[in-house]
Amino acid sequence: MHAPLDTDVAIETPEHIVFRHRLAGPARRGIAYLIDVVACYFCVFVVAIIVFVAAGASDMMERMQQSYTSTMGLGFGLILLLLFAVQWVYFVVWEAWKGTSLGKMALGLRVVTTGGRPVGFGGAALRNVLRAADALPLVYVVGLVSMLVTSRFQRLGDLVANTMVVMIDRARAAAPLRLWPPAEPFELVAIPERVTLDADERTAIELFLRRRGTLGPSREEELAAMMVEPLVRRHGLNLPRTAGERAPSPSRLLALLYERAANAGRGEAPASSRQPREMERLSWR
């Protein structure tokens, strides 16, 4: 769970749904860039070694005294072309094709337009040609300054091409919280019929309940006790005061409160007017 931060950017879809992308900052993008550069120059290096070996072999076979052979010329031409591709072509092709590059993929980054759509060939070409301006005067100082002063961490290339780099997190579906074992009547004595938790309280209790399994029993109760106190005051819970009465433990109390707030008045399987999807689509055809 992350609250809306100023490093989030909200995108409203035509369905009037607002979702958020997390922006990638200079550090992540720098690391991704390093990975890309290392990968590219490693490839160039491998080709260079092959060229030298091939040139040496052909030189020996032809018993030529001059150091310059046509194989070597071809090889050097190839290396120079590769260097050109590394500088100007690599990022354009990757970003236009996949919306990401090897390094960005490794860090889960993606290039999208500021409207949250994939970047096309034109956008990818523009933002990457402008690297030449961002990289000035050295090590992307201009790009870094531009990223720091714009709200979406955009370097000059991003500004011109109207793009941004976001982090794609593939969130896993988490199982909903369930109260177990079910509430017993004596536990519910202290809890009002209606409990209205505000967003912060809900989030706090929820995070606690999800972490519960990782804590030791005494630590669990200790933390729960700290959370219960303000809740008791705010919601006017009348917990049993004498030692003789049975009372739920603080941790259990939090679970009960949450259950009341989240599920009271809600059923498990209400009548639904929705038809199953399969049927609907069949009727269209």
Binding site: M1, G73, A133, A262, R266
Partner: protein, 334 residues
Amino acid sequence: MALTSHVTEAAFVARRHKDWADLELLTRRATDKSLGALEIHEVTRLSPLYRDICADLARAQAARYSAPLVDYLHALTASAHSVLYALPPRPRFTLSLRGKKSAFLAFPRAVRAHWRTMFLALLLFFGPFLFGAIASLSEPSFAFRVVPESQLRPLVEGYAKGFAAGRQAGEGAMMAGFYVNNNVGIALRCFATGVFGGLGSAFYLVQNGLAIGAILGYVASQGAGGNLLLFIVGHSAFELGAIVIAGGAGMSLGWSIVAPGERTRLASLQAAGRDVAVIVSGAAIMLLIAAAIEAFWSASSLPSGLKIAFGGTWLVVVLVYLIFAGRGEEWVRS
């Protein structure tokens, strides 16, 4: 809290999780491979599933279901959105030689639409070019101030020999690689640095014009000028033309920030960026042609009359293409 939903989170998840898993699978396959990797019935399934998850997300937020669920739906919506929504439709260029969408005609149209900066770029390049050439013709040591002497001397020796020997095949390939890497790189850099109000482009234009002019003047003053001219005549229309055009495009980009008109500076910059992207692509292609000519034709041992005719023809063709191709149909500034 007011109940906006009478369904518990568990029941909601139980009812909907199948569709979510389906959408997750389809989205992942579409992003990892491509949309084309999906079967037709899967593609048609994608958009109803996406609309449903939009509704689910709204429902889950309104019902205040737990944060992990909302986060999960958020992430799923976002990734499905990026699969379903491509860029807004723009005129796609075709490879035909006629019509408004022809890429072949879009380039000269875009160049002419920016004729003011192109003209300025022409002046900024050929002014210093002439100055450098004349200065080093009259006083050869002037060239050493622009280009290091250690680079100039081998040039003179090289061109003094002439082209009788031609080039070996391997050398041509190597030089092609060099010209692509060096010249296209210079042109793209010349364009990109225009984003600083056009100053970077102007700098590169002046610097390159001065250096090339000085080299030409120096080599001529040492008596090898004829051979050098013979060498550059074949590809200069493409090469110098492309550098001027790239510089002009860069200055257009810069001018859009300096004088944004009725738009914000950012919006003006972005509009200019879309506009000049066509010009830069065209200039890059011109430079690739120039590199091929320079590597395999210019240094060959062909008769000099043929080389001059070849170069002259291309100069006329390039000029006519840039000035007249695709006239009549308006270039629409985005």
